[in-house]
Amino acid sequence: MKHLTAINRKARRIEKVTALPQHDVVALQQGSQPPQQPEGPHIPAGCSIVFSPGWEADRTGGTAGLCQPVERDLFDCHMGCYWPAQVPDQLNHAPDWTAKCAAAQKDWRQIDLVFPG
């Protein structure tokens, strides 16, 4: 913080846990930690076994942080979960459609549309 100076130990903790993440799309890349926790590693496991926020509303009551990260739809939900995510057929028609996306959280913009043919 630049405009407030943390004085006691609690203030220093607040400053630390609310430090700005160095990501490009903050709300989507918060991970699934509850508020005011240091950000943990992203573990792409099925959402039924982690405490992801809900589907209807996120933990703040808004909609920006649903089932994050959304990349799960592409890489996980349609296989490990019932979620009917629409993804290309990676076995037959589009085996390379995520080839440019090495790390989903960073490279998701590289995924392009897949056209039949």
Partner: protein, 507 residues
């Protein structure tokens, strides 16, 4: 007015991902107490208990929000236009939002009620080795008119047996859970009236602690009447922390701290205390003063006990009593007391700035709590990390309730009744004290002493409304001292970095 890119404040809201902020978003202030020290403005935040210093722009925005109730970001930026650039306003609001000084006007007020997970490791067990006393202090909560348990004609033995004391040791070690150490405080009655058991218990506890690979340490409170040379040697050699209950110079001490024939105790205890202070150098020795309507001269008492007698620290507490008693402190008395505390606290600040020791322990303890910034849901550790044991081995909320059936938490042999403990924590949570809901001092006070509330209002559940003004006044004074030290001598505060608040009462 040009609007900077929106993500600037959106990304400043890390604790609230998904928050959508626009220039039209209306903000309002959350709770905090403002104070000034050493030319700076600070905020003590409620309920987090965090202390932040505010820069000029932050202060201007907080003032605007304070005047207007709610205001949009663009209106705030317009109001300080020419003084602070728009980008700085957004940055500052981002910081204020992160620290929870401001929030969106429409955000619902959070009302968390988080109960501690049980079992809670026991830090301190207060062992009442006797309920007998050789003094007859008129204000005593154990024998006076406000007593809870009839120790004179009751069921309990007058002295704790060696066997029960051993069970207390086992209980303390067992209930300390994952803590690497256990702390036992011997208490009474007059603790030293059961010195033989106390001495054996210390030896037994050291042995048992070594067996289970834990550290154990001890303290006790005494009226000093029974401090004989062999007792003093034992206390010094065993590094037992000693607190002496003493009210001040002779004319003050002898008003209330008297033998049953009415004779004052000063003449007897003064030379014994002198001998103790000369011999026992392994731990600092403190005096614990009970203040009454008739004995409110804090400065005189402090000077006598610290400067003349040589106590390392002196702590003061107003007498716990029903309001109609002759020694109860009146509202005017509390005002007078606060003035005296302030004077002595400013002495403390001066000493701290000059690098000298000052023995006013009320300030040191409050500074320690402010520095840690614990936001308390409960006023003290009673029923959490601290419990009391009566002479017959009954475990209770704290030593002041030792032997009271209504405040029983279990027994030494059967352990803590977790259902009772949970029910207590459930019903005594700060969120139930509606009077405290609007008080800025609640993170540090949490309603005050259970025993005091029980004596005044007949229930442990209510807040101690008779000293709210006093608590706020005193906390404000200590915040000013804290702020001044943070600016002028921050290294002084480092001594509090690793120290956690130990909830204990030294009556």
């Amino acid at each position: 007015m040009s609007t900077p890119a929106l993500p600037e404040i959106a990304t400043s809201d890390a604790p609230l991902p998904g928050l959508r902020v626009t220039p039209q978003t209306r903000l309002r202030l959350l709770e905090f107490h403002r104070f000034e020290a050493a030319g700076q403005t600070f905020a003590y935040l409620v309920p987090s208990a965090a202390v932040f210093a505010l820069d000029e722009c932050a202060l201007a925005l907080v003032d605007l929000l304070g005047e207007q109730g709610t205001a949009s970001i663009e209106a705030l930026a317009a109001a300080v236009d020419g003084k602070y650039p728009v980008q700085q306003v957004w940055d500052t609001l981002g910081d204020l939002h992160r620290a929870r000084v401001v929030t969106e006007a429409l955000a619902p007020a959070p009302a968390p009620k988080i109960l501690p997970l049980t079992p809670i490791p026991l830090q301190t067990l207060v062992v009442n080795v006797t309920n007998q006393c050789n003094l007859s202090c008129e204000y005593c909560y154990e024998y006076g008119e406000d007593k809870i348990v009839d120790t004179e004609n009751g069921q309990q033995p007058k002295f704790m047996s060696e066997e029960t004391a051993r069970e207390a040791v086992e209980f303390a070690l067992r209930e300390s859970g994952s803590n690497p150490s256990a702390h036992i405080t011997f208490f009474g009655g007059e603790t030293l009236m059961n010195f033989p058991v106390l001495r054996k218990t210390v030896a037994y506890a050291r042995q048992r602690a070594a067996d289970v690979g834990k550290a154990v340490d001890f303290s006790l409170t005494t009226n000093a009447t029974l401090l004989k040379p062999d007792v003093i040697d034992f206390l010094a050699d065993e590094r037992i922390g000693v607190t002496i209950s003493i009210d001040g110079p002779q004319e003050i001490q002898d008003k209330f701290r008297v033998f049953s024939n009415g004779q004052g105790s000063y003449a007897l205890v003064a030379p014994k205390i002198k001998a103790l202070l000369e011999r026992h150098r392994s731990r600092p020795i403190g005096a614990r003063v009970t203040l009454t309507r008739q004995t409110l001269d804090v400065l005189k008492i402090y000077r006598h006990l610290h400067d003349e007698m040589g106590f390392w620290e002196v702590g003061f507490a107003p007498v716990t009593t029903a309001p109609q008693r002759g020694h109860a402190i009146s509202d005017a008395g509390f005002d007078h007391l606060l003035g005296q505390f302030r004077t002595l606290a400013m002495d403390y600040l001066q000493a701290a700035l000059e690098g000298r020791h000052h023995g006013f322990s009320n300030v040191r303890e409050t500074l320690q709590e402010l520095h840690q910034g614990h936001a308390k849901a409960y006023p003290c550790g009673a029923g959490l990390g601290l419990m009391g044991v009566s002479t017959d081995g009954q475990v209770s909320l704290c030593h002041r309730f030792a032997g009271s059936e209504a405040h029983k938490f279990g027994t030494l042999t059967e352990g803590v009744n977790r259902d009772t403990q949970r029910a207590f924590l459930e019903s005594h949570h700060i969120s139930h004290k509606t009077d405290c809901a609007t008080c800025w001092a609640r993170p540090i006070c949490a309603g005050g002493c259970y025993h005091e509330a029980h004596t005044r209002y007949g229930t442990t559940q209510g807040p101690n409304l008779h000293y709210c003004e006093w608590i706020r006044g005193w906390t404000h004074t200590c915040l000013e001292i804290y702020g001044a030290l943070a600016v002028q001598r921050p290294e002084f505060l480092r001594q509090f970095d690793g120290v956690d608040h130990e909830a204990s009462d030294r009556h």
